[in-house]
Symmetry: C2
Subunit: 214 residues, 2 copies
Protein backbone atom coordinates (compact mmCIF):
# COMPACT_ATOMS: atom_id res chain seq x y z
CA UNK A 1 0.00 0.00 0.00
CA UNK A 2 1.42 3.37 -1.04
CA UNK A 3 2.38 5.51 1.96
CA UNK A 4 2.72 9.24 2.31
CA UNK A 5 6.01 10.20 3.97
CA UNK A 6 7.87 13.24 5.22
CA UNK A 7 11.62 12.97 5.75
CA UNK A 8 14.36 15.13 7.23
CA UNK A 9 12.09 18.01 8.04
CA UNK A 10 14.00 20.27 10.42
CA UNK A 11 12.27 22.58 12.88
CA UNK A 12 13.60 24.90 15.55
CA UNK A 13 12.69 24.63 19.23
CA UNK A 14 10.06 27.27 18.58
CA UNK A 15 8.62 25.21 15.75
CA UNK A 16 9.73 27.12 12.68
CA UNK A 17 10.46 25.05 9.58
CA UNK A 18 12.00 27.99 7.78
CA UNK A 19 13.01 31.55 8.59
CA UNK A 20 11.73 34.88 7.38
CA UNK A 21 12.85 36.64 4.21
CA UNK A 22 13.41 33.92 1.62
CA UNK A 23 15.42 34.99 -1.42
CA UNK A 24 17.40 33.31 -4.19
CA UNK A 25 20.48 33.61 -1.99
CA UNK A 26 18.74 32.50 1.21
CA UNK A 27 16.31 29.61 0.63
CA UNK A 28 15.58 29.48 4.38
CA UNK A 29 15.62 33.23 4.95
CA UNK A 30 17.22 34.49 8.14
CA UNK A 31 17.54 30.88 9.37
CA UNK A 32 20.49 30.52 6.99
CA UNK A 33 21.95 27.04 7.39
CA UNK A 34 21.14 26.75 11.08
CA UNK A 35 18.32 24.24 10.63
CA UNK A 36 20.36 21.90 8.44
CA UNK A 37 23.90 21.72 9.80
CA UNK A 38 23.21 18.18 11.00
CA UNK A 39 22.10 17.21 7.48
CA UNK A 40 25.02 18.81 5.67
CA UNK A 41 27.38 16.54 7.61
CA UNK A 42 25.71 13.32 6.44
CA UNK A 43 26.88 11.03 3.65
CA UNK A 44 23.46 11.39 2.09
CA UNK A 45 23.74 15.14 1.67
CA UNK A 46 27.37 15.03 0.58
CA UNK A 47 26.52 12.43 -2.05
CA UNK A 48 23.83 14.80 -3.38
CA UNK A 49 26.63 17.33 -3.84
CA UNK A 50 28.83 14.78 -5.58
CA UNK A 51 31.13 14.65 -2.57
CA UNK A 52 32.50 11.71 -0.63
CA UNK A 53 32.63 11.17 3.12
CA UNK A 54 30.23 12.35 5.77
CA UNK A 55 28.80 11.04 9.00
CA UNK A 56 27.64 7.43 9.21
CA UNK A 57 25.65 7.33 12.45
CA UNK A 58 22.00 7.78 13.29
CA UNK A 59 21.76 11.17 11.57
CA UNK A 60 22.90 9.46 8.37
CA UNK A 61 20.59 6.48 8.86
CA UNK A 62 17.64 8.82 9.21
CA UNK A 63 18.74 11.15 6.41
CA UNK A 64 19.35 8.28 4.02
CA UNK A 65 15.85 6.85 4.38
CA UNK A 66 14.34 9.64 2.31
CA UNK A 67 14.63 8.06 -1.12
CA UNK A 68 13.87 4.32 -0.99
CA UNK A 69 10.42 3.43 -2.23
CA UNK A 70 9.47 6.96 -3.25
CA UNK A 71 7.79 7.37 -6.65
CA UNK A 72 6.84 11.06 -6.53
CA UNK A 73 7.22 14.18 -4.40
CA UNK A 74 4.81 16.98 -3.63
CA UNK A 75 6.32 20.30 -2.60
CA UNK A 76 5.05 23.79 -1.94
CA UNK A 77 5.93 26.56 -4.31
CA UNK A 78 8.26 28.17 -1.77
CA UNK A 79 10.37 25.04 -1.62
CA UNK A 80 10.70 25.24 -5.39
CA UNK A 81 11.84 28.85 -5.41
CA UNK A 82 11.59 32.39 -4.05
CA UNK A 83 9.17 33.82 -6.64
CA UNK A 84 5.69 34.89 -5.47
CA UNK A 85 2.61 35.66 -7.57
CA UNK A 86 2.60 35.19 -11.35
CA UNK A 87 5.84 33.62 -12.62
CA UNK A 88 8.21 36.34 -13.80
CA UNK A 89 11.28 34.21 -14.32
CA UNK A 90 10.52 31.06 -16.29
CA UNK A 91 14.21 30.20 -16.32
CA UNK A 92 14.11 29.41 -12.61
CA UNK A 93 14.15 25.63 -12.30
CA UNK A 94 14.63 25.15 -8.58
CA UNK A 95 17.65 25.37 -6.28
CA UNK A 96 19.10 22.04 -7.32
CA UNK A 97 20.87 22.61 -10.64
CA UNK A 98 20.26 20.73 -13.91
CA UNK A 99 20.10 17.29 -12.24
CA UNK A 100 17.98 17.58 -9.08
CA UNK A 101 18.22 14.85 -6.43
CA UNK A 102 14.60 13.74 -6.74
CA UNK A 103 14.73 11.58 -9.91
CA UNK A 104 10.93 11.25 -9.89
CA UNK A 105 7.96 13.40 -10.85
CA UNK A 106 7.68 16.37 -8.48
CA UNK A 107 4.35 18.16 -8.06
CA UNK A 108 4.77 21.82 -7.16
CA UNK A 109 1.66 23.34 -5.58
CA UNK A 110 0.94 26.79 -6.97
CA UNK A 111 -1.94 29.11 -7.78
CA UNK A 112 -0.10 29.87 -11.03
CA UNK A 113 0.15 26.70 -13.13
CA UNK A 114 2.71 26.59 -15.93
CA UNK A 115 4.04 23.93 -18.30
CA UNK A 116 5.95 21.02 -16.81
CA UNK A 117 9.73 21.23 -16.73
CA UNK A 118 11.79 18.13 -17.46
CA UNK A 119 15.20 17.99 -15.85
CA UNK A 120 18.12 15.60 -16.18
CA UNK A 121 18.04 12.37 -14.20
CA UNK A 122 14.32 11.75 -14.25
CA UNK A 123 13.04 14.72 -12.26
CA UNK A 124 10.02 16.37 -13.89
CA UNK A 125 8.43 19.37 -12.21
CA UNK A 126 4.67 19.56 -12.64
CA UNK A 127 2.89 22.72 -11.49
CA UNK A 128 -0.55 22.07 -10.12
CA UNK A 129 -3.26 24.10 -8.47
CA UNK A 130 -4.89 21.54 -6.21
CA UNK A 131 -5.86 20.87 -2.62
CA UNK A 132 -3.83 18.25 -0.75
CA UNK A 133 -6.17 15.35 -1.57
CA UNK A 134 -6.21 16.10 -5.30
CA UNK A 135 -2.46 16.73 -5.43
CA UNK A 136 -1.93 13.41 -3.68
CA UNK A 137 -4.21 11.67 -6.15
CA UNK A 138 -2.12 12.97 -9.04
CA UNK A 139 1.17 12.15 -7.31
CA UNK A 140 0.03 8.63 -6.47
CA UNK A 141 -0.92 8.05 -10.08
CA UNK A 142 2.52 9.22 -11.17
CA UNK A 143 4.25 7.19 -8.47
CA UNK A 144 3.18 3.88 -9.97
CA UNK A 145 2.36 2.20 -6.69
CA UNK A 146 5.35 3.58 -4.81
CA UNK A 147 5.21 5.99 -1.86
CA UNK A 148 4.73 9.74 -2.12
CA UNK A 149 7.02 12.14 -0.28
CA UNK A 150 5.71 15.45 0.99
CA UNK A 151 8.82 17.53 0.61
CA UNK A 152 7.91 20.74 2.43
CA UNK A 153 8.04 23.58 3.22
CA UNK A 154 6.26 23.89 6.53
CA UNK A 155 2.98 25.22 5.13
CA UNK A 156 2.73 22.28 2.77
CA UNK A 157 3.54 19.65 5.40
CA UNK A 158 1.06 21.33 7.73
CA UNK A 159 -1.68 21.30 5.08
CA UNK A 160 -1.21 17.56 4.56
CA UNK A 161 -1.20 16.93 8.32
CA UNK A 162 -4.39 18.97 8.69
CA UNK A 163 -5.96 16.86 5.97
CA UNK A 164 -4.73 13.73 7.82
CA UNK A 165 -2.93 12.49 4.72
CA UNK A 166 0.49 11.76 6.25
CA UNK A 167 1.45 8.21 7.23
CA UNK A 168 5.04 8.79 8.34
CA UNK A 169 6.49 12.05 9.60
CA UNK A 170 10.18 12.46 10.38
CA UNK A 171 10.86 15.79 12.07
CA UNK A 172 14.28 16.88 13.31
CA UNK A 173 14.14 19.24 16.26
CA UNK A 174 17.22 21.46 16.18
CA UNK A 175 18.04 23.21 19.48
CA UNK A 176 17.97 26.74 18.12
CA UNK A 177 15.42 29.52 18.42
CA UNK A 178 14.48 31.25 15.16
CA UNK A 179 11.91 33.69 16.51
CA UNK A 180 10.17 34.21 13.16
CA UNK A 181 9.47 32.47 9.90
CA UNK A 182 6.90 29.80 9.02
CA UNK A 183 5.70 27.46 11.75
CA UNK A 184 5.09 23.77 11.17
CA UNK A 185 2.71 22.90 14.01
CA UNK A 186 0.06 25.62 13.96
CA UNK A 187 -3.49 24.32 14.12
CA UNK A 188 -2.43 20.74 14.86
CA UNK A 189 -3.50 20.46 18.51
CA UNK A 190 -3.58 16.80 19.55
CA UNK A 191 -1.61 15.59 16.52
CA UNK A 192 0.11 13.05 18.78
CA UNK A 193 -3.12 11.07 19.14
CA UNK A 194 -2.95 10.03 15.49
CA UNK A 195 0.58 8.61 15.56
CA UNK A 196 2.97 6.25 17.29
CA UNK A 197 5.86 8.51 18.31
CA UNK A 198 9.54 7.86 18.89
CA UNK A 199 12.28 10.33 19.74
CA UNK A 200 16.03 9.94 19.70
CA UNK A 201 18.77 12.46 20.25
CA UNK A 202 22.03 12.08 18.38
CA UNK A 203 25.53 13.36 19.13
CA UNK A 204 25.00 16.27 16.74
CA UNK A 205 22.50 17.57 19.28
CA UNK A 206 19.34 17.22 17.22
CA UNK A 207 16.33 15.08 18.13
CA UNK A 208 14.75 12.87 15.51
CA UNK A 209 11.03 12.64 16.18
CA UNK A 210 9.25 10.06 14.08
CA UNK A 211 5.51 9.81 13.96
CA UNK A 212 3.98 6.87 12.18
CA UNK A 213 0.32 6.23 11.78
CA UNK A 214 -1.00 3.89 14.46
Amino acid sequence: MSRVRVHNFSVSLDGFGTGEGQSAEAPFGHAGSRLHEWFFLTRTFRAMQGKEGGTAGVDEAMAGAWRAGIGAEIMGRNKFGPQRGPWQDHEWKGWWGPNPPFHTPVFVLTHHPRPSVEMEGGTVFHFVEADPAEALRQAREAAGGLDVRIGGGPSTVRAFLEADLIDELHVVVVPIVLGRGVRLWDGLDGLEDRFRIESVTTPSGVTHVTMSRT
Copy 2:
Protein backbone atom coordinates in the same frame (compact mmCIF):
# COMPACT_ATOMS: atom_id res chain seq x y z
CA MET B 1 28.61 32.69 42.79
CA SER B 2 24.82 32.58 42.93
CA ARG B 3 23.30 31.19 39.72
CA VAL B 4 19.88 31.68 38.22
CA ARG B 5 18.32 28.34 37.23
CA VAL B 6 15.25 26.96 35.51
CA HIS B 7 14.36 23.30 36.07
CA ASN B 8 11.86 20.83 34.68
CA PHE B 9 10.21 23.31 32.39
CA SER B 10 8.10 21.32 29.93
CA VAL B 11 7.20 22.62 26.50
CA SER B 12 5.31 21.05 23.62
CA LEU B 13 6.77 20.56 20.13
CA ASP B 14 5.10 23.82 19.19
CA GLY B 15 6.76 25.59 22.09
CA PHE B 16 3.88 26.08 24.50
CA GLY B 17 4.74 25.99 28.20
CA THR B 18 1.10 25.91 29.19
CA GLY B 19 -2.27 25.57 27.52
CA GLU B 20 -5.16 27.95 27.15
CA GLY B 21 -7.92 28.45 29.70
CA GLN B 22 -6.29 28.16 33.11
CA SER B 23 -8.69 27.62 36.01
CA ALA B 24 -8.51 26.37 39.58
CA GLU B 25 -9.26 22.89 38.27
CA ALA B 26 -6.89 23.12 35.31
CA PRO B 27 -3.59 24.81 36.20
CA PHE B 28 -2.30 24.16 32.67
CA GLY B 29 -5.58 24.85 30.89
CA HIS B 30 -6.46 22.62 27.97
CA ALA B 31 -2.99 21.03 28.16
CA GLY B 32 -4.24 19.08 31.18
CA SER B 33 -1.47 16.78 32.37
CA ARG B 34 -0.02 16.17 28.90
CA LEU B 35 3.11 18.28 29.48
CA HIS B 36 3.99 16.60 32.76
CA GLU B 37 3.31 12.90 32.47
CA TRP B 38 7.07 12.23 32.41
CA PHE B 39 7.45 14.21 35.65
CA PHE B 40 4.56 12.57 37.49
CA LEU B 41 6.31 9.22 37.10
CA THR B 42 9.51 10.34 38.83
CA ARG B 43 10.49 9.69 42.43
CA THR B 44 10.92 13.42 42.87
CA PHE B 45 7.32 14.20 42.04
CA ARG B 46 5.94 11.24 43.97
CA ALA B 47 7.93 12.28 47.04
CA MET B 48 6.34 15.75 46.78
CA GLN B 49 2.99 13.98 47.02
CA GLY B 50 4.13 11.96 50.01
CA LYS B 51 4.23 8.81 47.90
CA GLU B 52 6.93 6.20 47.48
CA GLY B 53 8.32 4.67 44.30
CA GLY B 54 8.71 6.24 40.89
CA THR B 55 11.19 6.11 38.05
CA ALA B 56 14.89 6.23 38.81
CA GLY B 57 16.47 6.92 35.41
CA VAL B 58 17.50 10.04 33.57
CA ASP B 59 14.07 11.67 33.92
CA GLU B 60 14.44 11.31 37.69
CA ALA B 61 18.04 12.53 37.69
CA MET B 62 17.00 15.65 35.84
CA ALA B 63 13.81 16.17 37.85
CA GLY B 64 15.61 15.74 41.16
CA ALA B 65 18.16 18.47 40.45
CA TRP B 66 15.62 21.21 40.98
CA ARG B 67 16.10 21.74 44.72
CA ALA B 68 19.79 21.47 45.68
CA GLY B 69 21.46 24.82 46.25
CA ILE B 70 18.31 26.87 45.72
CA GLY B 71 17.66 29.68 48.23
CA ALA B 72 14.66 31.39 46.65
CA GLU B 73 12.22 31.06 43.77
CA ILE B 74 10.68 33.67 41.51
CA MET B 75 7.39 32.76 39.82
CA GLY B 76 4.81 34.52 37.72
CA ARG B 77 1.42 35.20 39.13
CA ASN B 78 -0.20 32.60 36.87
CA LYS B 79 1.99 29.88 38.32
CA PHE B 80 0.75 30.91 41.76
CA GLY B 81 -2.90 30.74 40.82
CA PRO B 82 -5.70 31.38 38.34
CA GLN B 83 -6.83 34.81 39.58
CA ARG B 84 -6.34 37.81 37.31
CA GLY B 85 -6.52 41.51 38.17
CA PRO B 86 -7.05 42.71 41.77
CA TRP B 87 -7.02 39.82 44.25
CA GLN B 88 -10.59 38.72 44.99
CA ASP B 89 -9.80 35.61 46.96
CA HIS B 90 -7.18 36.20 49.63
CA GLU B 91 -7.64 32.66 50.86
CA TRP B 92 -5.97 31.28 47.73
CA LYS B 93 -2.49 30.24 48.76
CA GLY B 94 -1.28 28.41 45.67
CA TRP B 95 -1.91 24.93 44.26
CA TRP B 96 0.37 23.16 46.69
CA GLY B 97 -1.58 22.82 49.95
CA PRO B 98 -0.46 24.06 53.38
CA ASN B 99 3.14 22.80 53.01
CA PRO B 100 4.37 23.71 49.52
CA PRO B 101 7.42 21.92 48.10
CA PHE B 102 9.56 25.06 47.87
CA HIS B 103 10.69 25.48 51.50
CA THR B 104 12.27 28.85 50.65
CA PRO B 105 11.07 32.40 50.05
CA VAL B 106 9.06 32.58 46.82
CA PHE B 107 8.64 35.88 45.01
CA VAL B 108 5.40 36.07 43.05
CA LEU B 109 5.46 38.73 40.32
CA THR B 110 2.21 40.69 40.22
CA HIS B 111 0.88 44.14 39.46
CA HIS B 112 -1.23 43.78 42.60
CA PRO B 113 1.03 43.50 45.65
CA ARG B 114 -0.42 42.12 48.87
CA PRO B 115 0.96 41.05 52.25
CA SER B 116 3.32 38.11 52.36
CA VAL B 117 1.89 34.69 53.17
CA GLU B 118 3.84 32.33 55.39
CA MET B 119 3.22 28.64 54.82
CA GLU B 120 4.34 25.53 56.67
CA GLY B 121 7.79 24.15 55.96
CA GLY B 122 9.60 27.41 55.28
CA THR B 123 7.82 28.59 52.15
CA VAL B 124 6.93 32.29 52.31
CA PHE B 125 5.13 33.88 49.36
CA HIS B 126 6.12 37.50 48.76
CA PHE B 127 4.13 39.48 46.20
CA VAL B 128 6.23 41.99 44.31
CA GLU B 129 5.70 44.38 41.45
CA ALA B 130 9.14 44.48 39.88
CA ASP B 131 10.96 43.97 36.61
CA PRO B 132 13.13 40.85 36.31
CA ALA B 133 16.34 42.55 37.45
CA GLU B 134 14.76 44.03 40.56
CA ALA B 135 12.90 40.82 41.41
CA LEU B 136 16.17 38.94 41.09
CA ARG B 137 17.90 41.44 43.34
CA GLN B 138 15.30 40.84 46.04
CA ALA B 139 15.37 37.07 45.56
CA ARG B 140 19.17 36.97 45.72
CA GLU B 141 19.12 38.92 48.94
CA ALA B 142 16.61 36.45 50.40
CA ALA B 143 18.56 33.46 49.09
CA GLY B 144 21.56 34.16 51.29
CA GLY B 145 24.16 33.38 48.66
CA LEU B 146 22.37 30.35 47.26
CA ASP B 147 20.97 30.05 43.73
CA VAL B 148 17.66 31.48 42.58
CA ARG B 149 15.16 29.35 40.67
CA ILE B 150 12.91 30.91 38.05
CA GLY B 151 9.90 28.70 38.48
CA GLY B 152 7.72 29.67 35.52
CA GLY B 153 5.30 30.01 33.87
CA PRO B 154 6.43 30.56 30.30
CA SER B 155 5.98 34.35 30.30
CA THR B 156 8.15 34.66 33.39
CA VAL B 157 10.92 32.39 32.09
CA ARG B 158 10.81 34.25 28.79
CA ALA B 159 11.09 37.64 30.52
CA PHE B 160 14.20 36.49 32.38
CA LEU B 161 15.71 35.05 29.18
CA GLU B 162 15.02 38.30 27.36
CA ALA B 163 16.80 40.16 30.14
CA ASP B 164 19.68 37.66 29.84
CA LEU B 165 19.43 36.77 33.53
CA ILE B 166 19.33 32.96 33.23
CA ASP B 167 22.48 30.89 33.79
CA GLU B 168 21.03 27.40 33.49
CA LEU B 169 17.89 26.43 31.59
CA HIS B 170 16.47 22.92 31.67
CA VAL B 171 13.64 22.53 29.19
CA VAL B 172 11.81 19.27 28.54
CA VAL B 173 10.45 18.95 25.03
CA VAL B 174 7.39 16.72 25.11
CA PRO B 175 6.34 15.27 21.73
CA ILE B 176 2.82 16.66 21.75
CA VAL B 177 1.23 19.55 19.88
CA LEU B 178 -0.85 21.93 22.01
CA GLY B 179 -1.86 24.39 19.32
CA ARG B 180 -2.58 27.24 21.75
CA GLY B 181 -1.58 28.56 25.12
CA VAL B 182 1.49 30.55 26.20
CA ARG B 183 4.69 30.15 24.21
CA LEU B 184 8.11 30.01 25.83
CA TRP B 185 10.39 30.99 22.97
CA ASP B 186 8.80 34.08 21.43
CA GLY B 187 11.23 36.94 20.84
CA LEU B 188 14.30 34.86 21.65
CA ASP B 189 15.83 34.51 18.17
CA GLY B 190 19.43 33.33 18.45
CA LEU B 191 19.12 32.28 22.09
CA GLU B 192 21.41 29.33 21.35
CA ASP B 193 24.38 31.67 20.89
CA ARG B 194 24.37 32.50 24.60
CA PHE B 195 24.49 28.93 25.88
CA ARG B 196 26.26 25.63 25.72
CA ILE B 197 23.51 23.19 24.75
CA GLU B 198 22.99 19.48 25.37
CA SER B 199 20.03 17.30 24.43
CA VAL B 200 19.13 13.82 25.54
CA THR B 201 16.05 11.75 24.88
CA THR B 202 14.83 9.33 27.53
CA PRO B 203 12.69 6.21 27.27
CA SER B 204 9.63 8.20 28.31
CA GLY B 205 9.93 9.93 24.94
CA VAL B 206 10.79 13.43 26.15
CA THR B 207 13.95 15.32 25.28
CA HIS B 208 15.85 17.11 28.02
CA VAL B 209 17.48 20.21 26.58
CA THR B 210 19.90 21.91 28.91
CA MET B 211 21.34 25.30 28.16
CA SER B 212 24.11 26.58 30.39
CA ARG B 213 25.79 29.91 30.06
CA THR B 214 29.04 29.61 28.12
